[in-house]
Amino acid sequence: MPSSCSTSLSFFVAAILLTGIPCTAQSVQALELRELIRHVEQQYHGSSSHARTEMRVRTEHWQRSLEMEAWSLERDRFLVRILAPPKERGVATLKVDKEVWNYLPRVDRVIKVPPSMMGGAWMGSHITNDDLVKASHVDEDYTFTLLKESPEHYLIECLPKVNAAVVWGKIVYEILKPLLVPGTVTYYDEGMIPVREILFADVRTTGGRTLPMRMTVRPLDKPGEETVLQYQEINFDVPLTASFFSLRTLKER
């Protein structure tokens, strides 16, 4: 369950991790948080997904909407391609392990995102390149404490390990009962000031798994700005191999 914190960092991984949670309320109480992590990892091993999503970004200066098609394999590979608007059709992002590349069809070039730009916005949204890279490894980078349990939810505090290279000082993760889906995730900076919130909503059951179909990212220092990711359809356990996640596939249109 605590490893579900990683779902908040990337909708690509969210689909996978959530589908791996089989626990009931009773079994959660019986399990230590760390054992739950290992359990989730076993469930999650080998999972793949294929999804169509819409991302709406609203900033102080502009609003825009993107339609995207995304594939993911396990925790470290995903590929996302923009389908609309026409101006950006074909723009794609590939992530393998900790490397991120962007393909730009207009100039037919692949640009690797340098380390110094990992903090930059991904596709102009409020999700950063760093989110894409770090999302899958929250269970490795953080320690977990159950802050509070009520009939409605679990509240889990995630603190970074001493040697983890992460940007957040703390993450507070809410899991709603009884479906065990994420609710609100709050991010704190190193000064323990809340700077970002991710809200999950629109819970549906699809492909035998229950998961939220909408994720809203809100920077707390810029009220009025937000990024909304809405799943339109998603399929699991599709036949994908590691070779699919290559620069050659990145360039296909």
Binding site: N102, K112, P114, S116, M117
Partner: protein
């Protein structure tokens, strides 16, 4: 009468006179030279700060220069350009658009500041065209040409003619990207710009960022950089609402402080050097007066008034000071002219030093400023008179009987 006595006294001990005059000549000429070098260094720093990037004055949306907000842009209408251009002292104006993004070649990418300019206008404001180390400056119609700083070019492994991809966030939220061709590489000695600045055509960057006909600033160069503050104040009274003129003193406060600090250190150098010179003169004249105690006694016994004795000694001082002044200025001028035209090239032993936003070139040179000659000259005369005053008073205060009896 007093003049003849004074001059005769000066020549009485030629060696002492020669030594004293030499001391004054050397100190004043070296002072003139060092002040000139100081001015040269400051001039280099100011030029590199303002003439390699900033300009002397910029007009932009109020507050833009504080945080470089990408969305603080404006459309420069011809009337505005004309008003700024017709302001007295303005030499050139360059419209600029600024974006931050990725510059990529092959497998390498680096973040950079991309500055869109009109090359013909930019050449009037900056001197990057004189800092080209490979290829050439942007042509007047740059199309998709780009200039890169040397450090950035080395990291990307590119040479003139190579292809570059620029990626940035456009004003409409989309990913702006385009192919450019490297036209040239510049090296200013300022590592911040050499490692992260790219120059492209203004219209190309406007298309890339989806900001048609918009700019972030109008950079201006002035005939005299020191008038930037006054010119900015004048413009601020004329600019439309929402725009402000900012001079280099505000853009580069540390440069302003460096100049003030340099003025103070110059004053300290002048004070120390002339204090030492004054002591030398004082010593000379005290010895001279002591040697002639009996003579002064006889003169006073004959009826010479104390004020005339004092005047005679001061005239001696003034005469020596005058001669030293003429020789000192001549020598200082000669040394300064040599340094202004030839200079001393230290580039083999040191690299450019960036300080306070400006770069000190590894070449000592002199800037000829009237103040650098006038101040040492006047101060030399003042020092001579002050140094001569004590022995003059001593001479004037002698008691004739005691003075004559002494031997």
């Amino acid at each position: 009468m007093l003049w003849r006595l004074a001059l005769r006294n000066i020549w009485r001990n030629k060696r002492r006179t020669a030594l004293t005059v030499s001391a004054m000549v050397v100190s004043s000429s070296l002072l003139i030279l060092s002040l000139g070098i100081f001015s040269g260094m400051l001039s280099d720093m100011l030029a590199s700060a303002t003439e390699q990037y900033y300009g002397h004055l910029v007009v932009s949306v109020t507050g833009y220069q504080d945080d470089r907000d990408f969305f603080d842009n404006f459309s420069p209408d011809p009337a505005l350009l004309e008003r700024i251009a017709s302001t007295s002292g303005v030499r050139g104006i360059s419209p600029r658009l600024r974006a931050f993004g990725l510059v990529s070649h092959g497998q390498r990418s680096d973040p950079a500041e991309i500055l869109g300019v009109e090359p013909a206008s930019e050449r009037q404001v900056t001197r990057l065209q004189e800092k080209i180390v490979a290829g050439s400056y942007l042509p007047d119609d740059p199309e998709k040409g780009a200039l890169l700083g040397r450090g950035l070019a080395e990291r990307l492994g590119v040479n003139p003619g190579d292809e570059l991809v620029f990626v940035t966030q456009a004003a409409d939220g989309s990913i702006g990207n385009d192919l450019f061709t490297l036209r040239g590489i510049f090296a200013t000695g300022d590592s911040r710009h050499d490692n992260g600045l790219v120059l492209v055509g203004l219209s190309a960057l406007q298309r890339l960022t989806v900001l048609p006909d918009r700019v972030h600033e109008l950079a201006a160069s002035l005939e005299d950089p020191m008038t930037a503050g006054a010119t900015a104040a004048q413009l601020n009274g004329q600019l439309p609402e929402g725009l402000e003129a900012t001079d280099w003193g505000q853009l580069l406060p540390e440069m302003q402080e460096a100049i003030a600090a340099s003025d103070v250190s110059r004053l300290i150098i002048v004070t120390i050097l002339y204090f030492a010179t004054g002591l030398g003169i004082l010593n000379t004249f005290f010895m001279s007066v002591m040697e002639r105690t009996r003579e002064f006694g006889i003169l006073m016994a004959l009826g010479m008034r104390p004020w005339r004795v004092r005047a005679m000694v001061l005239l001696e001082t003034l005469a020596m000071g005058g001669v030293s002044l003429a020789l000192g200025i001549s020598l200082g001028l000669a040394l300064s002219l040599y340094m202004a035209t030839v200079g001393i090239d230290l580039s083999e032993s040191i690299t450019p030093i960036t300080y306070a936003g400006g770069t000190i070139a590894p070449r000592l040179r002199v800037v000829m400023e009237p103040a650098n000659f006038i101040v040492p000259s006047l101060l030399l005369l003042v020092v001579c008179l002050l140094a001569g005053f004590l022995p003059a008073n001593r001479a004037a205060g002698l008691d004739p009987v005691a003075a004559i009896r002494e031997d």
